[in-house]
Protein backbone atom coordinates (compact mmCIF):
# COMPACT_ATOMS: atom_id res chain seq x y z
CA UNK A 1 0.00 0.00 0.00
CA UNK A 2 1.38 3.38 -0.97
CA UNK A 3 2.24 5.60 1.95
CA UNK A 4 0.41 8.91 1.93
CA UNK A 5 2.57 11.99 1.56
CA UNK A 6 0.01 14.27 3.13
CA UNK A 7 0.95 15.92 6.44
CA UNK A 8 -0.35 14.05 9.50
CA UNK A 9 -2.71 16.85 10.46
CA UNK A 10 -4.40 16.68 7.05
CA UNK A 11 -4.62 12.89 7.37
CA UNK A 12 -6.29 13.27 10.72
CA UNK A 13 -8.80 15.77 9.34
CA UNK A 14 -9.66 13.48 6.42
CA UNK A 15 -10.06 10.48 8.73
CA UNK A 16 -12.25 12.47 11.07
CA UNK A 17 -14.43 13.61 8.17
CA UNK A 18 -14.81 10.01 6.94
CA UNK A 19 -15.68 8.82 10.41
CA UNK A 20 -18.21 11.62 10.85
CA UNK A 21 -19.84 10.84 7.48
CA UNK A 22 -20.25 7.22 8.55
CA UNK A 23 -21.66 8.28 11.89
CA UNK A 24 -24.08 10.71 10.27
CA UNK A 25 -25.52 7.83 8.21
CA UNK A 26 -25.99 5.81 11.40
CA UNK A 27 -27.46 8.81 13.21
CA UNK A 28 -30.10 9.24 10.53
CA UNK A 29 -31.02 5.55 10.58
CA UNK A 30 -31.28 5.31 14.37
CA UNK A 31 -32.91 8.73 14.64
CA UNK A 32 -35.68 7.47 12.38
CA UNK A 33 -36.04 4.37 14.56
CA UNK A 34 -36.63 6.61 17.57
CA UNK A 35 -38.96 9.05 15.81
CA UNK A 36 -41.05 6.22 14.38
CA UNK A 37 -40.78 4.20 17.63
CA UNK A 38 -39.35 1.26 15.65
CA UNK A 39 -37.35 -1.59 17.18
CA UNK A 40 -38.26 -0.65 20.74
CA UNK A 41 -35.93 -2.50 23.11
CA UNK A 42 -37.73 -5.18 25.10
CA UNK A 43 -37.84 -4.67 28.87
CA UNK A 44 -38.87 -6.72 31.90
CA UNK A 45 -38.36 -9.92 29.94
CA UNK A 46 -37.20 -12.35 32.59
CA UNK A 47 -39.71 -15.23 32.59
CA UNK A 48 -42.09 -15.08 35.53
CA UNK A 49 -45.47 -16.25 36.77
CA UNK A 50 -48.08 -14.19 38.53
CA UNK A 51 -48.83 -16.20 41.67
CA UNK A 52 -51.08 -13.68 43.38
CA UNK A 53 -52.95 -10.59 42.33
CA UNK A 54 -55.24 -8.20 44.09
CA UNK A 55 -56.47 -4.98 42.56
CA UNK A 56 -53.50 -3.63 40.65
CA UNK A 57 -51.01 -5.57 42.78
CA UNK A 58 -49.23 -8.52 41.24
CA UNK A 59 -46.86 -10.87 42.97
CA UNK A 60 -44.39 -12.34 40.48
CA UNK A 61 -42.42 -15.50 40.94
CA UNK A 62 -39.44 -15.52 38.59
CA UNK A 63 -38.46 -18.83 37.06
CA UNK A 64 -35.20 -20.07 38.54
CA UNK A 65 -32.07 -20.18 36.43
CA UNK A 66 -30.14 -22.69 38.50
CA UNK A 67 -30.74 -26.31 39.48
CA UNK A 68 -30.20 -25.53 43.11
CA UNK A 69 -31.42 -22.38 44.89
CA UNK A 70 -30.86 -20.89 48.31
CA UNK A 71 -33.41 -22.03 50.85
CA UNK A 72 -34.66 -18.54 51.70
CA UNK A 73 -36.57 -16.72 48.94
CA UNK A 74 -35.92 -13.05 48.18
CA UNK A 75 -38.87 -10.73 47.70
CA UNK A 76 -38.23 -7.51 45.79
CA UNK A 77 -40.51 -4.68 46.90
CA UNK A 78 -40.86 -1.95 44.35
CA UNK A 79 -41.45 1.74 44.90
CA UNK A 80 -44.86 3.32 44.29
CA UNK A 81 -43.24 5.96 42.14
CA UNK A 82 -42.27 4.07 39.01
CA UNK A 83 -42.59 0.89 37.04
CA UNK A 84 -40.74 -2.09 38.46
CA UNK A 85 -38.92 -3.13 35.31
CA UNK A 86 -36.04 -0.81 36.23
CA UNK A 87 -34.89 -3.86 38.20
CA UNK A 88 -35.33 -6.09 35.17
CA UNK A 89 -34.19 -3.90 32.29
CA UNK A 90 -32.81 -6.25 29.68
CA UNK A 91 -30.28 -9.06 29.19
CA UNK A 92 -27.13 -8.30 31.14
CA UNK A 93 -28.72 -5.29 32.80
CA UNK A 94 -31.26 -6.98 34.99
CA UNK A 95 -30.85 -7.10 38.75
CA UNK A 96 -33.52 -9.81 38.91
CA UNK A 97 -31.73 -11.95 36.34
CA UNK A 98 -28.45 -11.52 38.19
CA UNK A 99 -29.99 -12.71 41.45
CA UNK A 100 -31.57 -15.68 39.68
CA UNK A 101 -28.23 -16.59 38.12
CA UNK A 102 -26.65 -16.44 41.57
CA UNK A 103 -29.11 -19.06 42.77
CA UNK A 104 -31.80 -17.05 44.53
CA UNK A 105 -35.49 -17.83 44.37
CA UNK A 106 -36.85 -14.42 43.43
CA UNK A 107 -40.28 -12.86 43.88
CA UNK A 108 -41.41 -9.32 43.25
CA UNK A 109 -44.26 -7.23 44.57
CA UNK A 110 -45.40 -4.97 41.74
CA UNK A 111 -47.93 -2.44 43.01
CA UNK A 112 -49.16 -1.81 39.47
CA UNK A 113 -50.57 1.42 38.11
CA UNK A 114 -53.01 2.92 40.63
CA UNK A 115 -56.55 3.23 39.35
CA UNK A 116 -58.81 6.10 40.41
CA UNK A 117 -60.44 3.87 43.02
CA UNK A 118 -57.00 3.28 44.62
CA UNK A 119 -56.87 6.89 45.77
CA UNK A 120 -57.80 5.81 49.31
CA UNK A 121 -54.85 3.46 49.78
CA UNK A 122 -52.57 4.49 52.64
CA UNK A 123 -49.31 3.22 54.09
CA UNK A 124 -51.37 0.96 56.33
CA UNK A 125 -52.92 -0.78 53.34
CA UNK A 126 -49.57 -1.49 51.76
CA UNK A 127 -47.66 -2.43 54.90
CA UNK A 128 -50.33 -4.13 56.99
CA UNK A 129 -52.56 -5.70 54.39
CA UNK A 130 -51.01 -6.16 50.96
CA UNK A 131 -47.46 -7.00 51.99
CA UNK A 132 -48.45 -9.63 54.58
CA UNK A 133 -50.77 -11.23 52.01
CA UNK A 134 -47.88 -11.40 49.51
CA UNK A 135 -45.46 -12.88 52.03
CA UNK A 136 -48.02 -15.51 52.91
CA UNK A 137 -48.21 -16.46 49.23
CA UNK A 138 -44.41 -16.61 49.06
CA UNK A 139 -44.40 -18.97 52.02
CA UNK A 140 -47.00 -21.17 50.33
CA UNK A 141 -45.15 -21.19 47.01
CA UNK A 142 -41.79 -22.08 48.53
CA UNK A 143 -42.81 -24.10 51.53
CA UNK A 144 -40.36 -22.03 53.55
CA UNK A 145 -41.24 -20.06 56.62
CA UNK A 146 -38.73 -17.24 56.29
CA UNK A 147 -37.95 -14.81 53.50
CA UNK A 148 -35.65 -11.90 52.76
CA UNK A 149 -36.75 -8.53 51.43
CA UNK A 150 -35.03 -6.25 48.96
CA UNK A 151 -36.61 -2.82 48.68
CA UNK A 152 -35.76 -0.12 46.19
CA UNK A 153 -36.42 3.51 47.12
CA UNK A 154 -39.87 3.68 48.67
CA UNK A 155 -39.99 -0.12 48.51
CA UNK A 156 -37.18 -0.10 51.06
CA UNK A 157 -39.24 2.21 53.24
CA UNK A 158 -42.16 -0.23 53.04
CA UNK A 159 -39.85 -3.13 53.92
CA UNK A 160 -38.58 -1.29 57.00
CA UNK A 161 -42.08 -0.27 58.05
CA UNK A 162 -43.22 -3.88 57.70
CA UNK A 163 -40.28 -5.16 59.75
CA UNK A 164 -40.99 -2.51 62.39
CA UNK A 165 -44.69 -3.32 62.57
CA UNK A 166 -44.15 -7.07 62.69
CA UNK A 167 -41.01 -7.71 64.75
CA UNK A 168 -41.89 -11.41 64.90
CA UNK A 169 -42.27 -11.82 61.14
CA UNK A 170 -39.84 -14.46 59.85
CA UNK A 171 -37.73 -11.97 57.90
CA UNK A 172 -34.23 -13.28 57.40
CA UNK A 173 -32.70 -9.98 56.26
CA UNK A 174 -33.51 -6.72 54.49
CA UNK A 175 -31.49 -5.03 51.76
CA UNK A 176 -32.50 -1.47 50.94
CA UNK A 177 -31.35 0.57 47.98
CA UNK A 178 -31.67 4.37 47.90
CA UNK A 179 -34.19 4.41 50.72
CA UNK A 180 -34.88 7.83 52.24
CA UNK A 181 -35.73 7.88 55.93
CA UNK A 182 -34.79 11.34 57.18
CA UNK A 183 -36.96 13.74 55.25
CA UNK A 184 -35.07 16.79 56.43
CA UNK A 185 -32.53 15.74 53.81
CA UNK A 186 -35.00 15.65 50.93
CA UNK A 187 -33.69 18.90 49.47
CA UNK A 188 -35.85 20.54 46.81
CA UNK A 189 -38.78 18.18 47.38
CA UNK A 190 -39.06 19.37 50.95
CA UNK A 191 -38.74 23.02 49.97
CA UNK A 192 -41.48 22.69 47.35
CA UNK A 193 -43.77 21.05 49.86
CA UNK A 194 -43.39 23.87 52.37
CA UNK A 195 -46.62 23.68 54.43
CA UNK A 196 -46.97 27.47 54.24
CA UNK A 197 -47.46 27.34 50.49
CA UNK A 198 -48.34 23.78 49.50
CA UNK A 199 -51.96 22.81 50.11
CA UNK A 200 -51.77 19.05 49.84
CA UNK A 201 -55.37 18.59 51.03
CA UNK A 202 -56.77 20.73 48.25
CA UNK A 203 -54.67 18.91 45.66
CA UNK A 204 -55.54 15.38 46.81
CA UNK A 205 -59.22 16.20 47.42
CA UNK A 206 -59.44 17.49 43.86
CA UNK A 207 -57.40 15.07 41.79
CA UNK A 208 -57.54 11.86 43.85
CA UNK A 209 -54.37 10.18 42.66
CA UNK A 210 -51.54 12.56 41.81
CA UNK A 211 -51.39 12.58 37.99
CA UNK A 212 -48.38 10.91 36.39
CA UNK A 213 -47.62 14.07 34.41
CA UNK A 214 -47.33 16.08 37.62
CA UNK A 215 -45.01 13.47 39.11
CA UNK A 216 -42.87 13.41 35.98
CA UNK A 217 -42.50 17.20 35.79
CA UNK A 218 -41.66 17.37 39.51
CA UNK A 219 -38.84 14.88 39.06
CA UNK A 220 -37.62 16.72 35.99
CA UNK A 221 -37.51 20.01 37.86
CA UNK A 222 -34.94 18.53 40.22
CA UNK A 223 -32.46 18.69 37.36
CA UNK A 224 -34.04 20.81 34.67
CA UNK A 225 -31.20 20.50 32.17
CA UNK A 226 -31.03 16.71 32.18
CA UNK A 227 -33.63 16.21 29.49
CA UNK A 228 -32.09 18.72 27.07
CA UNK A 229 -28.59 17.45 27.81
CA UNK A 230 -29.82 13.91 27.23
CA UNK A 231 -31.23 14.80 23.83
CA UNK A 232 -28.01 16.54 22.79
CA UNK A 233 -25.96 13.53 23.87
CA UNK A 234 -28.33 11.27 22.01
CA UNK A 235 -27.84 13.21 18.78
CA UNK A 236 -24.08 13.13 19.33
CA UNK A 237 -24.11 9.37 19.95
CA UNK A 238 -26.86 8.32 17.57
CA UNK A 239 -24.31 6.26 15.64
CA UNK A 240 -23.54 4.19 18.73
CA UNK A 241 -25.84 1.18 18.95
CA UNK A 242 -25.16 0.55 22.64
CA UNK A 243 -25.69 4.17 23.65
CA UNK A 244 -28.96 4.44 21.75
CA UNK A 245 -30.18 1.17 23.22
CA UNK A 246 -29.42 2.34 26.76
CA UNK A 247 -30.94 5.76 26.11
CA UNK A 248 -34.16 4.31 24.74
CA UNK A 249 -34.62 1.99 27.70
CA UNK A 250 -34.03 4.73 30.25
CA UNK A 251 -36.14 7.22 28.29
CA UNK A 252 -38.99 4.73 28.24
CA UNK A 253 -38.70 4.09 31.97
CA UNK A 254 -38.50 7.78 32.86
CA UNK A 255 -41.46 8.71 30.71
CA UNK A 256 -43.65 5.83 31.79
CA UNK A 257 -44.32 7.62 35.05
CA UNK A 258 -47.29 6.33 36.98
CA UNK A 259 -49.82 8.19 39.16
CA UNK A 260 -49.27 8.25 42.91
CA UNK A 261 -52.09 7.09 45.20
CA UNK A 262 -53.70 10.21 46.67
CA UNK A 263 -54.05 9.28 50.35
CA UNK A 264 -50.54 7.88 50.47
CA UNK A 265 -49.31 11.15 48.98
CA UNK A 266 -51.19 13.12 51.62
CA UNK A 267 -49.77 10.91 54.36
CA UNK A 268 -46.26 11.05 52.88
CA UNK A 269 -46.37 14.84 52.68
CA UNK A 270 -47.86 15.53 56.09
CA UNK A 271 -46.37 12.81 58.25
CA UNK A 272 -43.04 12.24 56.60
CA UNK A 273 -42.13 15.42 54.72
CA UNK A 274 -43.55 17.92 57.19
CA UNK A 275 -43.22 16.10 60.49
CA UNK A 276 -40.45 13.64 59.66
CA UNK A 277 -42.22 11.00 61.73
CA UNK A 278 -40.35 8.03 60.31
CA UNK A 279 -36.99 9.35 61.46
CA UNK A 280 -38.29 10.55 64.83
CA UNK A 281 -40.10 7.31 65.60
CA UNK A 282 -43.50 8.99 65.86
CA UNK A 283 -45.17 7.39 62.88
CA UNK A 284 -48.27 5.35 63.59
CA UNK A 285 -49.86 2.93 61.16
CA UNK A 286 -53.32 1.59 61.87
CA UNK A 287 -53.12 3.07 65.36
CA UNK A 288 -49.86 1.28 66.17
CA UNK A 289 -46.48 2.89 66.55
CA UNK A 290 -44.08 2.21 63.70
CA UNK A 291 -40.55 2.86 64.91
CA UNK A 292 -37.46 1.89 62.97
CA UNK A 293 -35.87 1.00 66.31
CA UNK A 294 -38.04 -2.09 66.22
CA UNK A 295 -36.30 -3.36 63.10
CA UNK A 296 -34.01 -6.05 64.49
CA UNK A 297 -33.15 -8.12 61.41
CA UNK A 298 -29.85 -7.71 59.52
CA UNK A 299 -29.98 -4.70 57.23
CA UNK A 300 -27.83 -3.77 54.25
CA UNK A 301 -28.32 -0.28 52.87
CA UNK A 302 -26.91 0.76 49.51
CA UNK A 303 -27.03 4.42 48.63
CA UNK A 304 -25.75 6.69 45.91
CA UNK A 305 -23.57 9.69 46.66
CA UNK A 306 -25.13 11.87 43.97
CA UNK A 307 -28.71 10.73 44.27
CA UNK A 308 -30.92 13.74 43.50
CA UNK A 309 -34.23 11.93 44.10
CA UNK A 310 -33.46 10.31 47.45
CA UNK A 311 -30.53 12.53 48.45
CA UNK A 312 -27.63 11.13 50.41
CA UNK A 313 -28.61 13.29 53.41
CA UNK A 314 -32.01 11.58 53.49
CA UNK A 315 -30.74 8.02 53.04
CA UNK A 316 -27.57 8.13 55.15
CA UNK A 317 -29.24 8.04 58.63
CA UNK A 318 -31.01 4.73 57.95
CA UNK A 319 -28.51 2.52 59.74
CA UNK A 320 -28.45 4.80 62.79
CA UNK A 321 -32.23 4.55 63.06
CA UNK A 322 -32.78 0.82 62.77
CA UNK A 323 -32.40 -1.31 65.86
CA UNK A 324 -30.55 -4.14 64.11
CA UNK A 325 -27.29 -5.33 65.55
CA UNK A 326 -26.08 -6.54 62.20
CA UNK A 327 -26.14 -3.66 59.75
CA UNK A 328 -23.98 -2.52 56.90
CA UNK A 329 -23.95 0.31 54.41
CA UNK A 330 -22.61 0.58 50.92
CA UNK A 331 -22.01 4.00 49.41
CA UNK A 332 -21.57 4.09 45.65
CA UNK A 333 -20.91 6.87 43.22
CA UNK A 334 -23.71 7.69 40.83
CA UNK A 335 -27.36 8.55 41.08
CA UNK A 336 -30.71 7.11 42.03
CA UNK A 337 -31.16 4.97 38.96
CA UNK A 338 -27.55 4.10 38.19
CA UNK A 339 -27.33 2.66 41.69
CA UNK A 340 -29.52 -0.30 40.70
CA UNK A 341 -29.31 -0.32 36.92
CA UNK A 342 -26.06 1.25 35.77
CA UNK A 343 -22.49 0.08 35.31
CA UNK A 344 -21.93 0.67 39.02
CA UNK A 345 -24.77 -1.70 39.73
CA UNK A 346 -23.51 -4.53 37.55
CA UNK A 347 -19.99 -4.45 38.92
CA UNK A 348 -20.53 -3.30 42.48
CA UNK A 349 -24.04 -3.29 43.89
CA UNK A 350 -25.40 -6.56 42.54
CA UNK A 351 -22.44 -8.76 43.52
CA UNK A 352 -22.31 -7.17 46.98
CA UNK A 353 -26.02 -7.63 47.61
CA UNK A 354 -25.92 -11.21 46.32
CA UNK A 355 -22.94 -12.05 48.50
CA UNK A 356 -24.44 -10.41 51.58
CA UNK A 357 -27.77 -12.17 51.09
CA UNK A 358 -26.24 -15.54 50.23
CA UNK A 359 -24.87 -16.00 53.75
CA UNK A 360 -28.29 -15.19 55.16
CA UNK A 361 -30.27 -17.37 52.77
CA UNK A 362 -29.39 -20.88 53.87
Amino acid sequence: MATSTRPPVVETIIDTAQEEAERTRERMRKGLDILLARNEPPVGITPKDVIYSRGTLKLYHYRPMTDEVYRVPVVFVMSLVSKPWILDLTFGQSFIQYMLAQGFDVFMIDWGIPRPEDKNLKFEDYVMDLMPACFEEVQKATGEEDYSILGYCMGGMFALMYAAMYPDAPIKCIACAATPVDMTGMGLFRKWQDPRYFDVDRLVDTVGNIPSEMMLRTFELLRPMDRLGGYIRLIDNLWDQQFVYGFRIMYKWTNEQIPFPGETYRQFTKELMWENKLATGQLTLGGRRCSLEDVKVPVLHAMAEHDHIAPFAATKPLLELVGSEEKEELVLKGGHVSLVAGKNAVTRLWPRVAEWMSYRSV
Binding site: T3, S4, P8, V9, E11, T12, I13, D15, T16, E19, D49, I51, R54, G55, H61, R63, P64, T66, D67, E68, V69, Y70, R71, G103, D105, R115, P116, E117, A141, T142, E144, G187, L188, K191, W192, D194, R196, Y197, F198, D199, R202, L203, D205, T206, V207, G208, L221, L222, R223, P224, M225, D226, G229, R233, D236, E355, S358, Y359, S361, V362
Partner: protein, 139 residues
Protein backbone atom coordinates in the same frame (compact mmCIF):
# COMPACT_ATOMS: atom_id res chain seq x y z
CA UNK B 1 -7.97 7.10 16.32
CA UNK B 2 -5.03 6.25 13.99
CA UNK B 3 -4.86 7.57 10.42
CA UNK B 4 -3.41 5.82 7.35
CA UNK B 5 0.12 6.70 8.42
CA UNK B 6 -0.52 5.06 11.73
CA UNK B 7 -0.27 8.31 13.62
CA UNK B 8 -2.95 8.97 16.17
CA UNK B 9 -4.70 12.27 16.82
CA UNK B 10 -2.86 12.61 20.10
CA UNK B 11 0.48 12.02 18.40
CA UNK B 12 -0.17 14.68 15.76
CA UNK B 13 -1.09 17.10 18.50
CA UNK B 14 -4.39 17.91 16.77
CA UNK B 15 -7.04 18.94 19.28
CA UNK B 16 -10.05 16.66 19.54
CA UNK B 17 -12.75 19.26 19.02
CA UNK B 18 -15.59 16.81 19.55
CA UNK B 19 -14.18 15.71 22.88
CA UNK B 20 -13.71 19.34 23.96
CA UNK B 21 -17.29 20.06 23.02
CA UNK B 22 -18.54 17.07 25.03
CA UNK B 23 -16.62 18.20 28.09
CA UNK B 24 -18.06 21.67 27.65
CA UNK B 25 -21.56 20.24 27.38
CA UNK B 26 -21.17 18.20 30.56
CA UNK B 27 -19.76 21.14 32.49
CA UNK B 28 -22.42 23.55 31.18
CA UNK B 29 -25.18 21.10 32.06
CA UNK B 30 -23.77 20.70 35.56
CA UNK B 31 -23.50 24.45 36.06
CA UNK B 32 -26.98 25.16 34.71
CA UNK B 33 -28.47 22.41 36.87
CA UNK B 34 -26.73 23.89 39.86
CA UNK B 35 -27.92 27.40 38.95
CA UNK B 36 -31.52 26.27 38.48
CA UNK B 37 -31.27 24.17 41.62
CA UNK B 38 -30.50 27.29 43.61
CA UNK B 39 -33.24 29.28 41.93
CA UNK B 40 -35.80 26.50 42.42
CA UNK B 41 -34.82 26.10 46.04
CA UNK B 42 -35.84 29.62 47.01
CA UNK B 43 -38.87 30.52 49.06
CA UNK B 44 -40.21 32.57 46.16
CA UNK B 45 -40.28 29.50 43.95
CA UNK B 46 -41.92 27.41 46.69
CA UNK B 47 -44.62 30.10 46.98
CA UNK B 48 -45.06 30.32 43.21
CA UNK B 49 -45.30 26.55 42.80
CA UNK B 50 -47.75 26.38 45.70
CA UNK B 51 -49.89 29.01 43.98
CA UNK B 52 -49.65 27.11 40.71
CA UNK B 53 -50.79 23.86 42.36
CA UNK B 54 -53.67 25.73 44.04
CA UNK B 55 -54.69 27.28 40.72
CA UNK B 56 -54.45 23.92 39.02
CA UNK B 57 -56.66 22.36 41.71
CA UNK B 58 -59.26 25.14 41.39
CA UNK B 59 -59.42 24.82 37.60
CA UNK B 60 -59.50 21.03 37.79
CA UNK B 61 -62.31 21.11 40.36
CA UNK B 62 -64.47 23.46 38.33
CA UNK B 63 -63.82 21.38 35.22
CA UNK B 64 -64.81 18.22 37.10
CA UNK B 65 -67.98 19.82 38.41
CA UNK B 66 -68.91 21.25 35.01
CA UNK B 67 -68.32 17.92 33.31
CA UNK B 68 -70.31 16.09 35.97
CA UNK B 69 -73.32 18.39 35.46
CA UNK B 70 -73.03 18.00 31.69
CA UNK B 71 -72.88 14.20 31.86
CA UNK B 72 -75.74 14.08 34.36
CA UNK B 73 -77.86 16.16 32.01
CA UNK B 74 -77.36 13.59 29.26
CA UNK B 75 -77.84 10.72 31.67
CA UNK B 76 -74.29 9.46 31.15
CA UNK B 77 -72.02 7.96 33.81
CA UNK B 78 -69.69 10.47 35.42
CA UNK B 79 -66.12 9.95 36.62
CA UNK B 80 -67.34 9.39 40.17
CA UNK B 81 -69.82 6.79 38.91
CA UNK B 82 -67.02 4.92 37.17
CA UNK B 83 -64.79 5.16 40.24
CA UNK B 84 -67.63 3.87 42.40
CA UNK B 85 -68.13 0.98 40.01
CA UNK B 86 -64.39 0.30 40.16
CA UNK B 87 -64.52 0.21 43.94
CA UNK B 88 -67.35 -2.27 43.87
CA UNK B 89 -65.50 -4.47 41.39
CA UNK B 90 -62.46 -4.23 43.61
CA UNK B 91 -64.50 -5.40 46.58
CA UNK B 92 -65.83 -8.34 44.55
CA UNK B 93 -62.28 -9.26 43.47
CA UNK B 94 -61.18 -9.18 47.10
CA UNK B 95 -64.04 -11.44 48.08
CA UNK B 96 -63.17 -13.89 45.29
CA UNK B 97 -59.52 -13.88 46.36
CA UNK B 98 -60.40 -14.65 49.95
CA UNK B 99 -62.82 -17.37 48.85
CA UNK B 100 -60.09 -18.89 46.67
CA UNK B 101 -57.75 -18.83 49.65
CA UNK B 102 -60.36 -20.49 51.88
CA UNK B 103 -61.08 -23.19 49.28
CA UNK B 104 -57.37 -23.86 48.85
CA UNK B 105 -56.88 -24.17 52.60
CA UNK B 106 -59.81 -26.58 52.82
CA UNK B 107 -58.47 -28.60 49.89
CA UNK B 108 -55.02 -28.79 51.47
CA UNK B 109 -56.54 -29.98 54.74
CA UNK B 110 -58.42 -32.66 52.80
CA UNK B 111 -55.17 -33.89 51.29
CA UNK B 112 -55.69 -32.50 47.78
CA UNK B 113 -52.50 -31.32 46.06
CA UNK B 114 -53.09 -27.66 45.24
CA UNK B 115 -49.56 -26.71 44.18
CA UNK B 116 -49.42 -25.28 40.67
CA UNK B 117 -47.33 -26.99 38.02
CA UNK B 118 -44.81 -24.19 38.23
CA UNK B 119 -44.46 -24.65 41.99
CA UNK B 120 -44.00 -28.40 41.56
CA UNK B 121 -41.02 -27.80 39.28
CA UNK B 122 -39.04 -25.92 41.91
CA UNK B 123 -35.33 -26.72 42.14
CA UNK B 124 -33.75 -28.03 45.33
CA UNK B 125 -33.41 -25.40 48.04
CA UNK B 126 -30.04 -26.60 49.22
CA UNK B 127 -27.65 -24.09 47.70
CA UNK B 128 -24.83 -22.90 49.92
CA UNK B 129 -22.95 -19.62 49.59
CA UNK B 130 -19.52 -19.52 48.03
CA UNK B 131 -17.02 -19.50 50.90
CA UNK B 132 -15.04 -16.29 51.13
CA UNK B 133 -11.83 -18.12 50.15
CA UNK B 134 -13.42 -18.64 46.72
CA UNK B 135 -14.23 -22.39 46.90
CA UNK B 136 -17.73 -23.25 45.71
CA UNK B 137 -19.52 -25.39 48.19
CA UNK B 138 -22.86 -25.45 46.39
CA UNK B 139 -21.93 -28.22 43.98
Amino acid sequence: MANQNGTSRAETGAPDVAEMWRSWLTETERQLNSFFGEALGTEQFARASGNFVDGYAVVQRSLNQGMERYLNTFNLPTHSDVVELGERLHAIEDRITSLEGAIRTLAEKSGVDTASNVTKLRPKRTRKPVPKDGQNSSA
